[in-house]
Amino acid sequence: MNAQSQLSGSERFDVAIIGAGVVGCAVARRFALAGAKVILIEKGSDILSGASKANSAILHTGFDAPKGSLELALVQAGRQEYLDIHQAMNLPLVETSALVCAWTPDDALKLEGIAEQGRQNGVDRLRLLTSAEARTVEPGLAGNLVAALHVLDEHVIDPWSAPLAYVNQAIALGATVLRQCEVRAGAFDGEWRLETNQGDIRSKWVVNAAGLFGDHVDARLGFQSEFQIKPRKGQFVVLDKAASRQLKTIILPVPNEITKGVVICPTAFGNILVGPTAEEQDDRIRATVEHDTLEALVTHGSKLVPGLAHIPVTAVYAGLRPATEKKEYRVIHRAEHNAITLGGIRSTGLSSALGLAQHALKLHGGADRGEFVSKAAPKVSMPNLTESRPRDWQAENHGDIVCHCELVTRREIEATLSSPLPPGDFGGLRRRTRAGMGRCQGFYCNAKLAEISKGCLATPLAVDQEDGK
């Protein structure tokens, strides 16, 4: 079964979801489970091509979310559902905990307030620590730490396998996924007709989960957009897996008004991330890295965790968060038009996605009205890519290791290329297998990957041979 099916003009969907980021994937799954006939439409050559490809991979508790906010409720609902389903889907949960670190006496004074907010938000497992206590939890922290707040339930997950699992479950329930499909316009006359580069799509409802293009898509659907996306770029550096010996806990700064700030964070794959920055820009596509900023992130990491000095940089990346002119989520329900917009989902989207999906289904109301017959969840089990649990290279008869840095086997790569939703581009292949993500960045494996993935990727790794010798 391949999800990349052709459109037939007569097909009618219950729900069309625009945007296959983490939110769109979760929404597709939720509606498919509810029994709706779902189509997920993605402009990029693969899912997770926009904001969702770059984040810090933290599963938040919501301890610092605005009290009483929709964001808080959805982060907590999404988190709970992730905790409920991750084992069945073979998705990781790395129980790192987090330390909100105060490096100045002024910041230390704010910790009690942050803890109080956390308790009001229903996050109980919080401990205020002295510098010495915090360094017992995390011996790698620099000596000038003043105090810290230990948030025990902040965890780290695999930010790419999770949404892929969601969309795979939707596909197993019959959902259609179209990539390289851009919605150009939409008209509503009791049902939606979406005009795309792959033909018209008819659907009763539409859910706009278009992330960085959420406002544009609202406009294309004929709505007066209620918000404007103001992309906020975040740059990250990824340190070599050797760094994981230096740090086990998420290191958070005392947040300011604009952003959660730069975190130093273990990844599920055994690296350490430093980032993100928060830089306003107009461009919604280009997310460039910049030398001076990357260098500052490297320096910042080793200042707070001195053992990170000398650890080589494995990768650098940048992502754009779909911020708007307001801090809160911009969820808009246009019942008279059968439309829901899930806009302005910034840094917490990975945590809240499953919650947003529940919320969207509730706003839709179809399940409550008995329009659909809910379906049993089909078994979806993701290949494990994390260091903490057994991987394919440790298993029998894996054939061959293709990517030695990340220990990715040929069997894993071939399996993903023939999966229901094979990678549409090299980024997608990397996110699904980790091939080429390691310290040599393809010095050894890139050519092999070019061979194996020939004919599968939107932009092939090798150039056309015809004009060569």
């Binding site: 890295v289 290279w393 298993a395």
Partner: protein, 406 residues
């Protein structure tokens, strides 16, 4: 779990030479683990370079050199295992190894790590810009060509001016690609003249004091912006090749918590090639970037000889002393010294590199007494050899100082 006397990790020139040397010295069971399906390491895909003059008295091109290594090792009783990838080095000589059949633990009385080098990636160089397809290193380009008959680009901009850069230019030109320009960030070509004239002779513009400040492209590379002095210009291209900037492939040491020397970025080793943990030895380019295949071969043979002597009678007992040095010296190998009986083989010289081009006086002092000095212009990637005095191993303090001229 089977135990070997020695396990060698990596079947490039140094690993193969060490295996043969140890066998000749009478070491019993020697296991050589190679993750690929052939010997030769990096020489295998370097279709350009002459290898073999020093060790075999004749010239081989890359893949043929690897086959010669395979013939040599077949003459000796060495347990050679292909497709074996080491995932972890244990403190007590137990190695976690993945092979096509699954996972196993192998152990040995001594482990010799000969994992070679890799080039510094675009990411590690922290280069600004988009992150499109078509940004690779020389090794990647050469493996495209050598193993797959493919090309990652047609009109790349090439960064660097080391010997490997010239090899990259040659690989492009001989496979239907035409480099748009070769850029060297510093003020001089790192490869010496007349070799450094090669790109220009081939009609490829060479610019020093020039660096890539931005890479543009959504799918594939479309252009780079380069800065030459104060001028920033955009050059259209379909790829960027970062050549050289070799760094030891010392990840196994880093991830296993074994001591690494931050100057060389390879394992800390003493005069016998022995690591801080005396069960471990290292040889070849993992010690320092970067030497020729012939150098790595001879170094492997010398350290294999020392390892055999250590194993068969004279294990090290002393704690090592660290060799110290001034800026802008980048590295000194060996960077540890252990007192004790002198073993055959090992590293008879100190090898140094500078961080940047500089002029001044380099001197070596042992316990405060200067024993060697030289005034010269020092270039960053040139090999510098200082004979290692015999009394360096018993000394309290071995220090390289540098006095820079204005």
């Amino acid at each position: 779990m089977s135990q070997s006397d020695v396990i060698i990790v990596g079947g490039g020139p140094s690993g193969v030479a060490a295996a043969i040397a140890m066998r000749k010295a009478g070491v019993g069971k020697i296991t050589l683990l190679e993750r690929e399906r052939y010997l030769g390491g990096a020489t295998r895909h370097c279709s350009h370079s002459p290898f073999g003059m020093l060790e075999f008295g004749r010239v081989y091109l890359g893949a043929a050199y690897g086959r010669r290594l395979e013939q040599e090792i077949a003459k000796h009783d060495i347990d050679l295992r292909y497709g074996h990838s080491v995932a972890r080095l244990g403190e007590d000589g137990e190695l976690l190894v993945s092979n096509p059949d699954g996972l196993q633990t192998l152990s040995a009385k001594r482990v010799l790590v000969t994992t070679g080098v890799r080039e510094t990636t675009r990411a590690a160089r922290l280069v600004s810009g988009d992150r499109p397809i078509g940004v690779v290193t020389t090794g990647t380009l050469q493996s495209y060509v050598a193993f797959h008959n493919m090309m990652p680009f047609r009109r790349p901009v090439i960064v660097g001016s080391e010997l490997v850069t010239l090899s990259a230019v040659w690989t492009c030109l001989s496979h239907g690609a035409r480099p748009v320009a070769v850029l060297e960030p510093s003020s001089h070509s790192i490869a010496p003249a007349p070799l450094s004239w090669f790109p220009s002779l081939m009609g490829v513009p060479f610019h020093h004091d020039a660096q890539v400040v931005d890479i543009l492209g959504c799918g594939r590379v479309e252009a780079v912006r380069i800065k030459r002095g104060d001028i920033v210009e955009t050059i259209e291209c379909d790829g960027v090749l970062f050549s050289g900037g070799f760094t030891p492939e010392a990840s196994l040491f880093l991830t296993s918590g074994l001591a690494v020397d931050w100057g060389s970025a390879g394992p800390a080793v003493d005069q016998d090639g022995r690591c801080e943990n005396p069960r471990y030895f290292a040889a070849g380019n993992v010690l320092r970037a970067v030497e020729t295949g012939g150098w790595a071969f001879r170094e492997g043979r010398a350290i294999g000889t020392a390892l055999a002597a250590d194993l068969l009678g004279n294990p090290a007992k002393a704690a090592p002393t660290k060799v110290t040095y001034d800026d802008p010296i980048k590295l000194v190998v060996p960077n540890l010294l252990r007192s004790g009986s002198a073993l055959p083989g090992g590293l008879k010289d100190f090898q140094l590199r500078f961080q940047r081009r500089t002029k001044g006086t380099l001197s070596l002092s042992i316990d405060g007494r200067e024993v060697w000095r030289r005034n010269a212009t020092w270039r960053p990637e040139s090999r510098i050899i200082v004979p290692r005095p015999n009394n360096s191993t018993g000394a309290q303090r071995v220090h390289f100082s540098f006095r820079e001229e204005e």
